[in-house]
């Protein structure tokens, strides 16, 4: 089975040429992120991913985490890997120095996160959830809570979880029923939570649960939800884990994928909890983190796509089957067959496009945080807000398609677990569901991100794309010239859809929402096509360097334009005209056959 190799060349190319690492490193507080340091970080993170995490990915999937008497044993090797993760200080990468963090940009953290996820998605979820919890505490927690918990969580000796979902409250958190009753300086938490990633495990000495619950006087609905911190072990005055809290794992789920990641049912039985921030503001705190979490899931799409591509490529180069269509004499590796190549190119080009878009959005998050000028900050934040549902929705949906192509390249062997191709498809399958389904992302995109500001941010993107067309026009490269009209048609498709959404969000909201997912896909491929065209321009200037890499980049960008971006006008028609068709049948007519 082929090993994971971090695509460091492409990562560095995207960081430097597309996402503007040099500019990010000029932002206040990010001066440490110089090219040589970032190179060293990526290099060492890739060793960790390839040598520690990748070898326990398949075995972790086969063994899965096991629940017994309230305790969860992670698969063989996970504990050792987690110790190495902590020893390497990887969890501290994006956090403030005050709490033991390294204070590096989101952009750098993104590249490292991609490697951890590619090599072992199940493992990567533990750090991911911990980072989310740290982020929430950093932003909203009282000083005393930060002092007790942040240092431990950033160093990784304690992990974090997010307890949102309950059996009756999935996408609709207004239905949360877990109770929190005040008792002196703390609260007593009671209720059941489900789908809690790493809610219980044997990797760390303590687990810090962030739990959504209601106080007795809280108003109904989402305005009555508060956020609580509930540790597995209550810290003693010296900061070490003490008494066991009544937060217990009742069972773990049997899932389609991410088998090594324990998904816990948590029961809080009068457990001690501490309020994070103010009462009844829990959901707004959640929304602060939601962007980061959704972005990370989009990045999981990129990461799994990359891994699936590498595996398929290795197989296609080795598997001898059939004769070359032209040369014909001897049996050839299947990579020589045009359709296998087409699949590999679909995998490669879309993965690179998704990576480019994700990293560009990560850089925008850094600018939105740190640029001095307030107007600039707002501009970057608006772009981030617009693109988060696109990165999440498009990259996760495409990640599944790519993992599925990975199975297809393997032929019959892809359907057999031992090649490892199937695992990627099973692992990827959750990404379009958790942290908000694709439908939820698309609704967010057309409703909050476009209709609410009358399309202003989306139109600014269209303007930028039109300006960029002039840049493309200056290139003499025939491949780049071939991309240009396709991107222009994609831009026009986005512009038409934005006009349609703004005009109809009031009078035909059902029609608009019926086309929301096709529109999200359209946004993804146009934004991805834009980044690939930028990549081609950058590569054209660098051709005298690593010419194989840069030539391949230009050809891959052209492939993306002609095989993926070209779908944009069709999607536009679906969005603009297809709404009525979605809603055409009555509920009864669904049963009429």
């Amino acid at each position: 089975m082929s090993a994971y190799t971090a695509p460091l060349k492409d990562m560095k190319f995207v960081l430097n040429e597309l996402a503007g690492l040099a500019d990010v490193a000029k932002l206040p507080g990010y001066q440490e992120a110089t090219p040589d340091t970032v190179d060293a970080i990526l290099e060492e993170a890739s060793k960790f991913a390839t040598e520690i995490l990748d070898p326990i990915n398949y075995s972790g999937d086969q063994e899965g985490s096991v629940w017994k008497d309230g305790a969860v044993a992670t698969p063989r090797g996970f504990k050792h890997a987690y110790q190495q993760y902590v020893a390497g200080g990887w969890g501290s990468l994006p956090f403030e120095a005050q709490w033991g963090g390294q204070g590096l940009p989101k952009l750098v953290a993104t590249a490292v996160e991609e490697m951890l996820t590619s090599s072992n998605m199940s493992f990567s979820l533990c750090p991911l959830l911990t980072q989310g919890a740290i982020h929430a505490l950093e932003l909203c927690g009282a000083e005393a809570l930060k002092k007790t918990y942040l240092g431990k969580m950033i160093e990784g000796s304690w992990t974090g979880t997010m307890n949102l979902t309950e059996p009756q409250a999935g996408s609709d958190l207004a239905l949360v029923r877990t109770r929190a009753v005040r008792e002196g300086d703390h609260y007593r938490i009671s209720g059941q939570k489900i789908f809690i990633t790493y809610g219980e495990h044997d990797l760390a000495e303590n687990i810090v649960h962030l739990v959504l619950a209601r106080t007795p006087e809280a108003p109904e609905g989402v305005k009555g939800i508060s956020l609580f911190l509930v540790p597995k072990f209550l810290p003693k005055p010296d900061g070490t884990p003490g008494e066991r809290n009544a937060a217990r794992c009742a069972s773990i789920e049997h899932k389609l994928g991410i088998h090594a990641s324990p998904t816990a049912v948590m029961v809080f039985d009068n457990a001690v909890g501490y309020l994070v921030g103010e009462e009844n503001k829990g959901l707004s705190y959640m929304f602060v983190m939601m962007n980061a979490a959704r972005f990370s899931v989009g990045l999981e799409g990129v990461a799994i796509a990359e891994r699936a591509f590498q595996r398929a490529l290795a197989y296609a180069r080795e598997r001898l089957q059939g004769k070359d269509l032209v040369e014909g004499a001897s049996t050839v590796p299947i990579i020589r067959h045009p359709d296998v190549r087409r699949m590999l190119m679909l995998m490669k080009s879309q993965t690179e496009a998704m990576r480019a878009l994700a990293y560009v959005v990560a850089a925008a998050m850094d600018f939105a945080q740190k640029v001095e000028d307030k107007n600039q900050r707002q501009k970057h934040q608006a772009f981030v807000d617009l693109m988060i549902p696109v990165v999440k929705g498009w990259s996760s949906e495409t990640g599944i398609e790519i993992a599925s192509l990975g199975v297809q390249v393997h032929g019959g062997m892809g359907f057999i677990e031992e090649t490892g191709a199937a695992q990627h498809l099973r692992d990827a399958r959750i990404t379009t569901i958790y942290e908000g389904t694709t439908g939820i992302q698309a609704g967010d995109l057309v409703g909050r991100k476009i209709a609410r500001d009358s399309g202003a941010t989306a139109k600014a993107l269209v303007t930028e794309l039109k300006r960029f067309d002039a840049e493309l026009a200056r290139s003499k490269n025939p491949d780049i010239q071939a991309m240009r009209p396709v991107l222009a048609a994609g831009t026009a498709a986005v512009a038409d859809c934005v006009d349609y959404i703004v005009a109809n969000a009031g009078k035909d909201v059902r029609g608009v929402f019926a086309g929301a997912v096709p529109f999200l896909k359209l946004m993804g491929i146009v934004a991805g096509g834009w980044q690939m065209a930028r990549a081609a321009l950058a590569a054209e200037k660098l051709l005298s360097g690593d010419s194989n890499f840069y030539q391949a980049k230009i050809k891959t960008a052209r492939f993306f334009a002609e095989h993926v971006l070209v779908q944009a006008p069709g999607l536009r028609d679906t969005v603009v005209k297809g709404g009525a068709g979605v809603m055409a049948l009555s509920d009864e007519q669904f049963l009429a056959s």
């Binding site: 060492e44 060793k47 040598e51 190495q84 020893a87 390497g88 501290s92």
Partner: protein, 249 residues
Amino acid sequence: MKVLVAVKRVVDFNVKVRVKADGSGVETANVKMSMNPFDEIALEEAVRLKEAGAASEIVAVSCGVAACQETLRTALAIGADRAILVQTDAELQPLAVAKLLKSIALKEAPRLVIMGKQAIDDDSNQTGQMLAALLGWSQATFASKVKMDKDSAEVTREVDGGLDTISVRLPAVVTTDLRLNEPRYVTLPNIMKAKKKPFETLTPEALGVDVKPRLATLKVVEPAKRKAGIKVADARALVDKLRNEAKVI
């Protein structure tokens, strides 16, 4: 006790090495480069000596092009206290490197110089021995175990016949074999700290060392491709082929 560790920047061990089209050498453009794995072991040993209290300062040295800075940054991240780069674009052969290291060693006056027994690019296995000779210091090559005393070191060497344990007087040059230790993973905080450690750049001219190559490379070629196998009819045919075609018996 000060320890000097020499590290070389080489083509990464995962890279499939290719010969340049003109046969002048091995292709290194756009190829991933890393620290020579044997030198990584040498550095790891120095860091362990420091952690055990047997060494007080670790100085990493590399000789070569400006990009050797990266290799030295890695050395600093692994645990060297400071770094010296002897920067030159000239082709460096083992004797030149040994002379450069000699001048650094005389300046720095370490009690111990550690380096890999060979570099995985040219596999020369000469620099350590030449350095010891030039300095007139003791040498212990192919170390698989190093135990430090006040004025001496007990070194277990991997030799053809098995293990050979010797005691050498300090200062000494030790070259490391594969089984001496297993190098650690570099941690993120140490990568960040490495940026702030002292870094000195010198030149062969400033050190007064003539690095002109003494050997000329005439031609570099790839090994001949392996031919497809054949089935022989019987043992006699096999013996015949071994004797007359392969000429091995």
